[in-house]
Subunit: 338 residues, 2 copies
């Protein structure tokens, strides 16, 4: 077995032209069944493996789909990656994973790499501030935004109704009589962070009550800040009677801090989590996120687009957007005040 078997090798062995072999392998109708069979058998014997790089050269684009996310270790993005990977596999595409850590420089680097690889499409969870160059590169191909949204970007968006999530969480607590409801959430320069906070505020507004601005803590969406933010709120003179969290990592941080300080839930404080990680206490009232759904709807849309028109003549239906709605799961970590 030669190191690499090419169409030529098969063609020579069968005394055919490479074109015929290529067409046979592609199941082209203008090739006779008999020839196809001979080719297939020979290919198997030779251990022929197609060269998708060469194919991509000719076709002008590969079968790669790029996924650009801040982090895979985060179970939220991990779930997205998995959903996308499954979509890709089903459609015969391959998933190229890029992790940015929310660094615009890294983001640009990866977008460039994907452009060089002539990726068929790109799914991106954008950083807070994508560079101009990043946007220019994205604009060359098909791309969609996932979860977060770039202000003014002309590409479809697939996301979650974050405002609704926090609105319902907050409303739930309000309906239980809570008023001093603390908020621990992500930074406001992310579209998600801003939406979540808006949801929190909207819940108060709906009741005509002013939101307690002094109980709002926003920062980097990391466990560390969740703990810190909570501690900060807890140590206030007039500490909150309930907490809503607006981020999975933050929820973890809050819960950990609560554990460390031996605070009783819901005795001392009611807590609403964000997301529904399988490993969280099964007692946590939380916001169930349609993570898988959004990933799949995103993947299917993009793939339908890139498989549809051979030439990626720009971005798919620029203004398309799909919003998935989260669900509040009421369990035992929240109770009426008093």
């Amino acid at each position: 077995m030669r190191p690499t078997v090419t169409l030529r090798d098969i063609a020579r062995a069968l005394d055919l032209s490479t074109s015929t072999v290529a067409r046979a392998l592609a199941d082209n109708p203008q090739i006779s069944e008999q020839t196809k069979a001979r080719v297939r058998i020979s290919a198997a014997e030779f251990g022929y493996v197609a060269n998708s790089a060469a194919r991509a050269t000719r076709r002008g684009h590969s079968t790669l789909i790029g996924l650009i996310i801040p982090d895979v270790q985060n179970e939220f993005y991990g779930a997205l990656a998995k959903g996308l990977a499954q979509c890709c596999e089903k459609a015969g595409y391959q998933l190229l994973l890029a992790i940015t850590e929310d660094e615009p420089v890294s983001e640009e680097h990866h977008v460039r790499g994907l452009t060089e690889a002539r990726a068929a499409g790109i799914v991106i969870v954008p950083s807070p501030q994508p560079s101009k160059e990043t946007m220019a590169l994205l604009a060359r191909g098909s791309w969609v935004q996932l979860i977060r949204r770039i202000a003014g970007a002309e590409a479809p968006w697939f996301g979650i109704d974050e405002a609704a999530a926090l609105r319902s969480a907050t409303a739930h607590l309000l309906s239980l009589g809570h008023r001093r409801i603390g908020y621990v959430g992500g930074m406001l320069d992310l579209s998600t962070g801003a939406s979540r906070l808006a949801g929190y505020q909207a819940a108060f507004a709906a009741l005509g009550i002013p939101a307690p601005e002094h109980l709002i803590r926003t920062g980097p969406p990391r466990t560390h800040f969740g703990a810190e933010g909570f501690r900060d709120l807890w140590l206030l003179e007039n500490r909150p009677t309930a907490i809503v969290t607006a981020g999975a990592r933050l929820t973890a941080g809050v819960l950990e801090q609560i554990g460390q300080m031996a605070i009783k839930v819901p005795g001392d404080i009611s807590v609403v989590g964000y997301g529904d990680a399988p490993w969280w206490s099964s007692n946590l009232t939380t916001i169930g996120l349609p993570v898988r759904e959004v990933a799949i709807s995103c993947g299917e849309y993009l793939l339908r687009h890139v498989t549809g028109k051979q030439v990626s003549d720009g971005t798919p239906a620029l203004n398309y957007e799909a919003v998935h709605t989260p669900t509040l799961i009421v369990r035992a970590s929240t109770k009426a005040i008093g």
Copy 2:
């Protein structure tokens, strides 16, 4: 700006040959600095983006590194993916993510895809039973095994000393006076599952005590089985006084079940976890796994190999293996018996 700018376009504009442009962009010493500068400027103006597919065609291999894992949502594999991704980024390679769900068919599919893409190398966490075809395809290029190990496979292996992990966990409990130590672990057809159980047994053997075979439960490494296995053990007449878990998912399941049944830890039972997920109760005595370390050592090795010799003339040093040692982290979920 044309849809795609090629070397030719730049060459024509500058009245040079494409070879010169290519060499200039590659910073080839035989091109004068002046010409290089002109080319670089022109390339930037044109918005030239290299075509790595064409490059791969010519070179015979791409800059793709394949990572084949059972699941990314699992934080353990997620961490591996992240480590590898970072290695790749540093070396200018790209990470192609493939998820098998431990299905040999899917595994083969992905290995084929990576072979077609002429990946520079493949990192695989093999399924319990890789197909023959899978092995044949892997053998064509550079590949390494991660964590799990295929019996008789001729490729380097990067893993964790799983036996040591369970030996120290079990020894810890034995030293606390426990004897009826339950074991909830993964299936034995995985190299990891077998090693872990062996470690558990070795700890008993070291004390000349027979291991309590009837307290051993092995099954699929999922949360669900963790819960089930624990419940099973707990309902025994002579229930164990301590539990070691041999899998992160299993630990999660055990803990959840313990929570549901309102069992006190370590009052009613001592528990040692497997892995150190940040979201676990910070009171859990557990086995800290050098996940990141193993991923990075694996990635650096493979990349050093593929970047070293241009031609991937087979697998890197066939018998190389790197074993990373876990650490027992003693916290509050274990106590002396009595």
